[in-house]
Structure formats: structure tokens, C-alpha cells
């Protein structure tokens, strides 16, 4: 057991790892829902590959969560056998796919955050966290490049595509604040040097988002109400929208119906 684990409350560390892992898992599942339904073959392949990257990253993060927890739970146990209230992903990633514009805008808003998080985590005091982040960073950079390009092409595209991108932005922007909200868990892992405070990633994210929206000729929604950071709600605390239940029903069915089933 590394020194960093002794220096931080183990429950907080596990909780934080579940947040990072669940974001990748739930977004990966959402993106995989496009498989066989995308507007063109190339996009279908791209989305499936991206889902694969995210689910691969989730295996690493949840695998480490199980290891730090020390109760013999594997990444599969955590993915397939937790109920919705035990999931720690932000609300943004469980938003429905909507149209292609909403899927892409959700991806861009998350990728722009994800890249900053992975970059910062490369300097984590826990070497296991740092090495997963260094691996994931390359994949996330590739995702951001693609989602930003598409937000720009479609925003600065036809009237129809521009309207859809603007609508997607207006719908999703109120779910972005949760990614940068610091709570007790975030503060505990930040104090141990394991992860940056989410709020410290905000400025870089803002700069990326503004630059891309401008190139996309989209209007920044400005200050809006933010879900998940007021009162008792929020995905990071396990208070989810009803959408997560439907995702889990599909994702977990096999393991719930046939416990221990393997390929």
C-alpha cells in the first residue's frame, strides 16, 4: 500500500476514483448506444471506438478503486453490481443522446474537462493514478480533437446544423458546473496531492470552450442555473436523474439475471 493511501482517507480516495471511473463508464455506455444507428458509417465506427477507449479507461479506474478499497471487488463488480445511488458520475454524462448534435456537444463539453483533469493527474502523488492518467490523456486528446472539430463544422455549417448545435449547447450547458464544484471528497484528495481541485480546472476549460464556440459561431449561454451543485442533488453524490436507471437496467441486466456469467 503506497504512502499516498495512508495519507488520505481511504473512503474518500475510493469515492473519488469511482467518480472518475463512472464518468468514463456512463459516457462510454451512452456513446456505444449509437453503434449501428449513426448518420454515416464513419461516425458509427468513430463513436464505437471512442466508447471502447472510455470503457477501457473505466476498467483501469474502477480496477484501482477496488484495489484501494481492499474488499476484493473488481472493476466488473463495481460496474455491474452497484445500484444507481452508488454511482458517482456527473449528470452531464448520463444525459440522453438526443440528436447527433447533442451527442457531440455533450462529448465536447466533457472532453474539454477530461483533458485538463488527465493532464493534472499526471502529477498525482499516487503513481497508480499518474500512470493511468498518462495513458488516458493521449486517448482523450484525440477525442477532444474530434469533438471540437465537429462542433465547429456543424456550428459553422448549415442553418439546420447550427440551430441544432446551439440548442444542444443551451440544453447541456447547465450540467457543466458540476464538473468544477469542489466538495469534501475533492478537498480530501486534493490535500493529499492525489488530484487537483475541480475548480482549478475551470479557467482552462472555459478558454477551450470559448475558443471553440467562437470558431463554431455559436452563442455562449453565459451564466445559467447549474444542476447538481445546489441542495442535496448531484451525480457526484449519487443523486442522479432518472436516466441513469435506464442505462443501468440495460448495462447490468446480464449480470443481475445470471450472476457470475462469463463470456
Amino acid at each position: 500500500m503506497g504512502a499516498a493511501v495512508a495519507a488520505v482517507d481511504r473512503a474518500a480516495f475510493v469515492e473519488w476514483l469511482e467518480r472518475v471511473g463512472d464518468n468514463a463508464l456512463v459516457l462510454g455506455h451512452r456513446v456505444s448506444e449509437w453503434c449501428g444507428h449513426s448518420p454515416v458509417l464513419e461516425e458509427d465506427i468513430a463513436l464505437a471506438n471512442q466508447a471502447l477507449d472510455l470503457i477501457g479507461q473505466c476498467q483501469l479506474w474502477l480496477g484501482l478503486a477496488g484495489e484501494v478499497e481492499g474488499q476484493g471487488r473488481s472493476a466488473d463488480n463495481l460496474a455491474y453490481l452497484r445500484d444507481a445511488a452508488a454511482f458517482r458520475n456527473v449528470l452531464l454524462v448520463e444525459r440522453p443522446n438526443g440528436d447527433f448534435g447533442q451527442t457531440l456537444m455533450r462529448q465536447f463539453l466533457f472532453d474539454a474537462f477530461h483533458i485538463e483533469l488527465m493532464r493534472a493527474l499526471k502529477a498525482s502523488s499516487d503513481p497508480r493514478v499518474a500512470e493511468i492518467a498518462a495513458k488516458a490523456e493521449k486517448e482523450v486528446a484525440y477525442h477532444l480533437e474530434r469533438s471540437a472539430d465537429l462542433v465547429i463544422s456543424l456550428g459553422d455549417g448549415t442553418e439546420e446544423s447550427r440551430n441544432r448545435m446551439q440548442k444542444a449547447l443551451n440544453v447541456l450547458y447547465p450540467y457543466t458546473g458540476e464538473m468544477f464544484h469542489d466538495d469534501a471528497t475533492d478537498k480530501a484528495v486534493a490535500e493529499a496531492g492525489i488530484a487537483p481541485l475541480p475548480s482549478s480546472l475551470r479557467a482552462a476549460w472555459d478558454a477551450t470552450v470559448r475558443e471553440v464556440l467562437e470558431a463554431a459561431t455559436l452563442t455562449h449561454p453565459g451564466e445559467t442555473y447549474q444542476h447538481g451543485i445546489n441542495g442535496a442533488g448531484g451525480g457526484k453524490r449519487g443523486v442522479h436523474s432518472e436516466y441513469l436507471g435506464y442505462i443501468l437496467a440495460e448495462m447490468q441486466f446480464l449480470q443481475r439475471a445470471y450472476p457470475g456469467a462469463v463470456w
Partner: protein, 174 residues
């Protein structure tokens, strides 16, 4: 396997260089640069492998193929270890591997061009000021265009040659 009968490490590397990548069988696992270390620990051969992509579906097949290739050579006690750090990069593809890819119709990666998410560079590329050219592996023309950032496997992107009009795969740079 006693110390006297253990195959030499460079002999084992040679065997591993004959194990094909399951998704692009024209190159070997050592061409791909994913075998990081081979070492004897007492009577056990420890092979350290790094994944290309964290979700690469070929990872478990690769491990099975390594184990099978070594068992066929009479090595009984084998342990496979995963090493994430330093993360694999397409820069590690060997020269020989790149030539094999090209001959097979896949444009090899161009070193040092991995996506880094830096927006200034990306926007410059969008504006067409990039000097990055991917040569068509069939006719050699540099008059090519990207169709999609993702191709038939996680490690490839889709391109098209505007001269010979053939579509081709480009080995992604990460």
C-alpha cells in the same frame, strides 16, 4: 526449467518477433513495440506487455498468443505482466514494422504528430495551414484527405487518396 536449459533472452525476443499482431497480422508484437521486457525470475519467464489503447479488445488475445508461442517452445512457467507507464506511443513502431504496414496498404504513423488537444494547432490545421501530409501507401501521392479520425480498429484512421482514389487506413498517432 533449470538455469542450464533456459533459453537465452535474445532467443525469446526472436520468438516473440514472430508472433503476429491479431488485428494487423502483417506486423509482429515486437514491431508494434508493446513487449516491454522479457526476464527470467527463477524458473518463471516474466513477459511485460503494455497495451496500445486502454480499451484495446486485442489485449487478451495478445496475451494468449504470447503464452501459446512460448509454450510451443517448451517454456512452461510464464507470467504476463501489464505495464502502463510509460504509455505506449505509435513512435515505438519499428522501422521494419512501418515498411510492412506500408506494403500491406496501411500508411504508417508520422512520429511526433500525436494529438495533444492544443487548440491553436488544431485550428491551424482546420485552416489548411498544416504541413502534415499522409502519403498514400498504394501510389505514394501526398494528395490525400482524412475521411474519419477513426478506422476499422482503435489504432487506425480512415483516409482517401485523391489521385488513385483508393481509400486507405492510416495508423493513428498517439
Amino acid at each position: 526449467m533449470s538455469a542450464a536449459t533456459r533459453p537465452q533472452i535474445d532467443e525469446i525476443w526472436r520468438w516473440l518477433s514472430q508472433v503476429p499482431d491479431p488485428e494487423i497480422p502483417v506486423i509482429s508484437l515486437t514491431d508494434l513495440g508493446i513487449v516491454r521486457d522479457v526476464a527470467w525470475q527463477d524458473d518463471t519467464l516474466v513477459v511485460t506487455v503494455t497495451p496500445t489503447y486502454s480499451g484495446c479488445p486485442a489485449t487478451s488475445i495478445i496475451n494468449l498468443d504470447i503464452e501459446q508461442a512460448l509454450r510451443e517452445r517448451g517454456i512452461e512457467s510464464i507470467r504476463l505482466e501489464r505495464q502502463l507507464s510509460p504509455p505506449w506511443t505509435s513512435d515505438w513502431l519499428t522501422e521494419e514494422g512501418r515498411e510492412k504496414l506500408r506494403a500491406y496498404g496501411i500508411a504508417p504513423p508520422i512520429d511526433g504528430t500525436a494529438a495533444d488537444g492544443r487548440l491553436a494547432g488544431r485550428i491551424a490545421r482546420l485552416a489548411g495551414s498544416s504541413n502534415l501530409t499522409i502519403a498514400c501507401p498504394r501510389c505514394g501521392s501526398t494528395h490525400t484527405e482524412k475521411i474519419s479520425q477513426f478506422g476499422s480498429t482503435p489504432c487506425k484512421a480512415s483516409y482517401r487518396c485523391k489521385d488513385c482514389l483508393e481509400p486507405f487506413d492510416y495508423f493513428k498517432c498517439i
